[in-house]
């Protein structure tokens, strides 16, 4: 079933056999998958359902989102555990008009995102709110190949009333009330990791958020990575591998690929750039976003040029703070 049909019917889970067929069609052999950032955008089609890895300002696949804006993708439905300025960019660029998440603003330091408010309050874009655990259980059900998971939160709340896709039942074993949340199997997942090999064996340091479930739930996975390492290096510490190569379709080496957000152990968020961004876009969500996207997304010739616009001082400062997590 195409993503657009699902959108029209509000149905979020494919049938089990469709899900298996999607997987069968993928080339799951041990093969090199390294592509350029621009090439990776061809794995995402207009109207796709796209799962985004990381959470808030952490391990956001910002470079991939940046490239999708430049490639002019349209009509994506995006899902993520918690959405920050990545959501502003996706809405304002016209790439995404439907966000599925538990929390959507730039960050608690900056109040409520005027960009999110502008698009949602005017009806230009949709924001479906689920509880954080419900998002996790939806990806988990998708990863498990089952159509739903039962949860004990959201019951009795207005969050639940707004989500007819979630179904309340009396447990057949205990008679207790439970809420069934439907599996989420995105067409594509975008995930940024600290390191992976050319086959897509991905190692994640620190906080994993919902990324492992997201990877296994999705019908395609695009990895961006701080660096590509040898398969030998992966095999020296296989316990650190969190996403297996056969779930991965494309690998892009992209240093500082989460900028201006953080990548655990490598760099903290670039807060001066974020402060500049938030002041600009919350002052005027339409013109501010236009200006930002013009200057920082369409302006630079490459991701490196975008990083240069953030500035070497800020990158180094963020990197020093990022590595300090390993100091005693």
């Amino acid at each position: 079933m195409a993503a657009n049909d699902r959108k029209a019917t509000g149905k979020t889970a494919s049938t089990y056999l469709e899900l298996r067929e999607e997987l069968l069609r993928r080339d799951r052999s041990l093969r090199h998958k390294v592509v350029s950032l621009e090439e990776a955008t061809s794995f995402v089609r207009d109207g796709d359902s796209v799962g985004i890895g990381g959470s808030t300002m952490s391990r956001t696949p910002m470079g991939m989102i940046w490239a999708l804006i430049r490639a002019g993708r349209k009509g994506l439905t995006c899902s993520r555990s918690i959405v920050s300025s990545d959501g502003d960019l996706l809405y304002a660029s016209g790439v995404c008009d439907h966000m599925v998440t538990s929390w959507f603003s730039q960050g608690i330091l900056w109040g409520v995102s005027k960009v999110m408010r502008h698009y949602v309050e005017s009806g230009k874009a949709r924001y479906d709110e689920w509880s954080h655990m419900a998002m996790g259980m939806r990806f988990r059900a998708g990863a498990m190949g089952i159509p739903f998971m039962p949860i004990r939160s959201m019951l009795g709340s207005d969050v639940c009333k707004q989500r007819p896709e979630a179904i309340e039942i009396d447990c057949p074993f205990t008679g207790e009330k439970l809420l069934l949340v439907p599996a989420l199997n995105p067409d594509v997942a975008l995930i940024h990791v600290q390191r992976c090999d050319a086959y897509g064996n991905a190692q994640i340091d620190g906080l994993q958020f919902m990324d492992v479930d997201l990877a296994m739930a999705a019908n395609k996975v695009i990895l961006t990575t701080e660096r590509i390492v040898s398969n030998d290096q992966i095999r020296r510490a296989p316990d650190q591998t969190k996403i297996p190569f056969f779930a991965v379709d494309a690998v892009v080496e992209l240093p500082f690929g989460c900028a201006p957000h953080e990548c655990y152990g490598v760099y903290e968020p670039m807060l001066r750039h974020m402060e500049y961004y938030v002041a600009l876009v919350n002052d005027d969500p339409v013109k501010g976003m236009q200006q930002y996207i013009e200057r920082f997304v369409h302006g630079p010739k490459s991701w490196s040029e975008f990083l240069a616009l953030i500035g070497i001082d800020e990158l180094l400062e963020a990197a020093r703070a990022g590595e300090s997590i390993y100091d005693a």
Binding site: R117, S131, L155, G156, Y264
Partner: protein, 256 residues
Amino acid sequence: MLKKHGYSAAELLTILSARQLGDGQVVFAGVGIPLLAATLAQRLRCPGLTILFEGGVIGAFIEPGKLPPSTNDQRCTKRANMVLGSAEVLLLLQRGYVDVGFMGGAQVDQYGNLNSSFIGDPARPKTRLPGTGGGNDIASLAHMIVAMKHEKRRFVEHVDFVTSPGYLRGGDTRRASGLLAGGTFRVVTDLAVFGFEADKRRMQVMSLNPGVSREELQDNTGFRLEFAPHLGVTEPPTDQELALLHELDPERLYTA
């Protein structure tokens, strides 16, 4: 407030809510004042307090002056006992490992329900707020402390939208909706500390903060207040509490 007492409303709120925590407890804390208050309690009186964050952290030990911008940042993990997936840490609430949930809110009502989703009619909202995050899960699955600034527009008879459930419509309605465990047991503000009456599950004033009168509190509240039979007066912040708070948040990131 700052001039009158030598501390800000946010500092008072942090210190008073920190006092609600006990040593040995497992507390699930949201970002901002809950995170700061839990850390304050941990450093001052409760070395055995275990702090959980929704980003996937067990046993957080936040460094003074290095407060994280969210509970999903690497700073939350420094010197923690364990990092784990977001779903995994939230499932600890569902399994019952968490003694206290601890969060803030944009709007609260007489039954302790919190709204962080919509101001006005949700179908045509005046303001779309960020949403629940882990708030709904914490409120649904744990006993909860709410810390928030006391303003009439924030303390309303009925919230515009129940994002995180308290006692819903009072009485047995929370349990009847399928929420078998937990419930809000404290609301701490810069004006007073509240509990909940046992049958109706309606908010009641347990103690007034220093210098606050019953009238002043009622004037700043959007519903009729009930006062506990033995109304107390909150102990003011001590020098020790204030000094440690300044050390934890020297840039007043959370306590401005």
